[in-house]
Symmetry: C2
């Protein structure tokens, strides 16, 4: 742990968050710790927007505790940002001074526009959409942006959040039809002030606790096999259905909803109504959850400065590099195996054995670059560990389906074995996928064996068609004994999987 540690504290209207990051050698950042305390700062504002002494004390205490953890870790740089509740507080200087006195941390109050921009930054660098609406539903405000070609086009911050709107508009439990009508009207009147929002007809990407709760509730309802929220997609009608369900229940019943945490049950109706109204107003094509938000946007700004970029040129490769750093994988070997496997795939596509297919090549890329990750757990059952880990590590820019495919490719031993491994993941697969996984798994297995000594002895490979299959031409600059011995098992698997012959020929080069 000699790398530098950074922390971001986010003083929101509903909760205070601390995230501690370890900086990797490639501008990457690994989350080391993550803590949340619910403060409900916006509830501590009186009708004159005066923050109560109790609210100030509680905030200062929690930030002191977070500072204590930062000190214990040896964090060298803490960035503190504060949002709507602090923006609104007439006595915010008192709060900020008290925080600085007790902890030395100087919080920056970000404007609604800045907050929206951070949300946009977090999303376009972690979710692979060219165009979309981002919505970050906080406790005291909601930030909305629209981006095209990954560039920010419009943004706004509306002064309604899950906490403040609950206080203002919900007067019964469960809310009456009248409450709900007023709630929707209040939100709509805000949305209508931004004509660019109307009928954008694009994906809507949601951040914040409300969005995550909706996703979690939906995943539990349908027994979703992955434990990943980031990138989870729902149809807008499914969001409406969950809203209808929660708003019909009194808070005690509501808090028993599988996937909803107890300390959010009171404010979820207001939060979800904002989301639902935005989806309808925008005419959203789908709702996608982002686990990344304000904090990650703040951090991404720093990363992009380090990399001297305005956006990540390749978020998938960035996340893979991050995983390489964290698990201390052998970069050189991984990239070499990828190169060999990709060459085989390109040849197979050229000769129409595998249909030309961008998804297949991306999945093979992920599998190849991370094929050794299971060995960090143990060299025994390493391929099973590949499957487990590839469903867990923070990959960015790929769909859940692609993740399952990549995990299966990296876990492949035999068609029978991988069929059993995939039993719980049928919903991601089409009928042809098991064959494709077996083919790509065989390609990867063979490529791996050709660099089994991790010394890049094989310089180049090509498939050359012959009557009943292929000759695999291998150029090597050193003798290849172990590689060939071990590759022969994979050539057998190749013959079985591809139902065609393959023979290996080595050309020694200087």
């Amino acid at each position: 742990m000699t790398d530098e540690l950074n922390a971001v504290m986010d003083l929101g209207s509903n909760s205070v968050r601390l995230v501690i990051y370890q900086q990797g050698p490639h501008g990457t950042q690994q989350e080391l710790d993550n803590l949340k305390q619910t403060v409900r700062l916006s509830s501590h504002l009186d009708s004159h927007n005066m923050l109560s002494e109790k609210g100030i004390q509680r905030t200062v205490r929690i930030i002191s505790q977070f500072k204590q953890l930062c000190d214990a870790y040896g964090v060298t740089r803490i960035v503190g940002v504060a949002t709507q509740a602090v923006r609104m507080a007439v006595n915010r200087d008192t709060l900020l001074q008290r925080i600085t006195e007790h902890t030395g941390i100087e919080f920056r109050v970000v404007s609604g526009q800045e907050e929206a921009h951070y949300g946009y930054l977090a999303v376009v660098n972690s979710i692979p959409f060219e165009q979309g609406v981002t919505i970050d539903i906080g406790g005291g405000s909601t930030e909305i942006t629209y981006f095209q070609d990954r560039k920010l086009v419009y943004s706004t911050s509306i002064p309604y959040g899950a906490v403040s709107l609950t206080r203002e508009a919900i007067h019964s439990d469960p809310p009456t039809a009248k409450d709900l009508k007023a709630l929707e009207k209040a939100i709509l009147s805000q949305l209508e002030q931004h004509s660019w929002l109307k009928d954008l007809n694009c994906p809507v990407i949601g951040m914040g606790g409300t969005a995550r709760s909706v996703g979690r509730i939906h995943q539990r309802q349908r027994d979703y096999p992955l434990n990943i929220l980031h990138g989870y997609a729902m149809r807008p009608a499914e969001v409406t259905a969950i809203l209808d369900m929660v708003r019909s229940l009194p808070v005690e019943k509501r808090s028993e909803t599988n996937g909803l945490s107890g300390d959010r049950a009171d404010i979820i109706i207001a939060g979800m109504t904002i989301l639902d109204q935005v989806l309808k107003h925008v005419d959203g094509t789908e709702f996608v959850i982002s686990n990344k938000g304000l904090r990650d946007g703040v951090l991404m700004e720093q990363v992009l400065q380090t990399l001297n970029q305005t956006e990540l040129p390749d978020m998938l490769m960035y996340s893979i590099q991050n995983i390489h750093d964290h698990f201390r994988l052998n970069d050189n070997h991984a990239f070499h195996v990828w190169k060999l496997a990709e060459q085989l795939l390109f040849d197979l596509m050229e000769y129409r054995v595998i249909t030309d297919n961008y998804e297949a090549s991306r999945c093979l890329q992920v599998a190849a670059l991370l094929h050794d990750i299971g060995r960090t757990i143990s060299i025994y059952n390493a391929r099973n560990h590949n499957f487990y880990l590839l469903l867990q590590v923070p990959l960015l820019g790929i769909t859940h389906r692609e993740r399952v495919l990549a995990a299966a490719i990296a876990a492949f031993k035999t068609t029978k074995q991988i069929t059993a491994v995939l039993a719980d993941y049928q919903e991601f697969l089409t009928e042809e996928d098991v064959l494709l996984i077996s083919q790509l798994g065989t390609v990867l297995g063979l490529a791996r064996m050709l660099d089994r000594t991790e010394s890049k002895v094989v310089k180049d490979i090509h498939l050359v068609p012959k009557t009943k299959g292929f000759v695999l031409r291998v150029k090597a600059d050193k003798p290849l004994h172990l590689e060939l011995e071990l590759a022969s098992d994979w050539l057998k698997k190749w013959r079985k999987t591809f139902q065609s012959d393959i023979r290996l020929e080595v050309e020694q080069i200087d």
Copy 2:
């Protein structure tokens, strides 16, 4: 990877093995790589025990390949040992010279007694029996020892192994009743030469490919939920039943047996008959599989020299230290959390809330010392990762049941959650276990929160009984804000799990 790398090569009568180990900072050794090639050296001996040129060439080639991998890793020390086939070969000097010429490695031919001793060393330092018989069934010989109080009492090497005995005694496929009778008789006549072996009535611990195959076949037959062979226990009658099954099949059918690898199908009957005969002759109480064998014994000899011991004083702690080194866990924090958790457990036992129970305290120990291992995968779902990893990492000296209990304790969030996690592991559990796991999981969760800043602020804790439950007296030498805030959630869980009250009192000490 700056730590020193060692390798052991084992030139056996059936296969050649390479294991590469990374030396950790505490005399520990982590397996980095493990390769096997089947050579069948004993089949290359003619009737005058002359090793054929073809056999020599194949052996030299494979050892050169292994050497290539060692060089690629940067292994600094290679120990080579050769066993029965080389012991028997009249031209063994030619073989050894040729190996040295091509690779620089000087193989040591170990005697049958030495080989038996290494097997004993591997077993008594990885399986927690005070008394037992070890049996290592190789290709050309079988080593048997008897130990008491973990000390070697008797040992022998008999010149029959799975390969040589197949060649000598099995003349049909499947073998005839006459073949089988002769096979059994040959083995028995050897066993009868060692009067100490008869009716020892103790556990028999098996090493080598035959033993592992038996275990794997049995695990597949009953759909065993763990993917671990080391320490797997069977009844002797179950071994006999598997032998009866395989010996009734011709080799092609036999090789389809789930759990049996194709390149062992021809020799498994001879190997298993040796095992079965020993179990019967010894009157074995149970058959236990050891994944550790000759190679590990050779390595253990080095480890014990480094530690200046004759046997590992605590194999469980040794393996935990090994895991700490490999996963770079924070030792200080882990040991402190264990100390706090153990104190709570002792108090609960003293006040008869938990029954006094050595197993419970060992499981809590493992869970506490490894409670942060899941965070090495990701801080999200870290407790699920604890469960996965604790079922995979190389723990020594605990039963499979204890491993499942420890994994569940380290994964505990709520009774409902852990019940779901344990659904596939019912065979290891009694009815009371879920309550015990919830109690120990709560104890661990609370202890962890009391060192959440990993700075050992809490010096001492004790439970003091009061009318409706306990006061938890905490002595701390610094303010405890974050710890107390986070502990409060676990106090709530405590009240639920233990169905009794608990209140926390802090005493500041200097």
